[in-house]
Symmetry: C2
Subunit: 100 residues, 2 copies
């Protein structure tokens, strides 16, 4: 069974996040190279063991561990099929500039 890691990159919406907001696109790019963005900071990647080791290494190098967090979930086939989505089907383009 191929692992199906899900990663959430945490970008904080308060003052210190201004730096985090600059890192999110790089985290997103790494995840999108192997999977899809399903919400603003939630990605689903279906990867084999070798690819996962590389992706995880790349992600951990992209974040500042004292400011950001990454959380990885491993979904098997059953969990993947039970996943439910409600509301807008497709996340917006979060690579667009923020209008605050």
């Amino acid at each position: 069974m191929r692992p199906s890691p899900l990663t959430g990159g945490n970008v904080r919406p308060v003052h210190p996040a201004r730096r985090g907001l600059r890192r999110l696109p790089r985290v997103a790019r790494a995840c999108e190279d192997c999977g899809v963005r399903v919400q603003k900071s939630v990605f689903e990647c279906q990867v084999g063991q070798t690819e996962w080791v590389q992706l995880k290494d790349r992600l951990l190098r992209e974040i500042k561990s004292e400011q950001d967090s990454l959380r990885f979930y491993y979904l098997d086939e059953v969990a993947k099929q039970k996943t439910e989505h409600h509301g807008v089907a497709k996340p917006m383009d979060f690579t667009e500039p923020l209008i605050l």
Copy 2:
């Protein structure tokens, strides 16, 4: 096995999100009544079947389905134990006012 749903509430950081930002605290409150917030918009709730039906119903009533999204993952015990967290251990208090 008790289901362990994980829910991600999507609040979009661009113009239309101003309304989403007002809804997130209510979504968060519902999730935190049954579980913990592990990232800005990621919550983990360990609930039985009845409790889950009630929580899901409450969450779906809180969102505007044409603007927001909720994504539910069901983690079994194995997936739960494989979960990895990197970086800052505890999310910030996102109920605090945003300073932009």
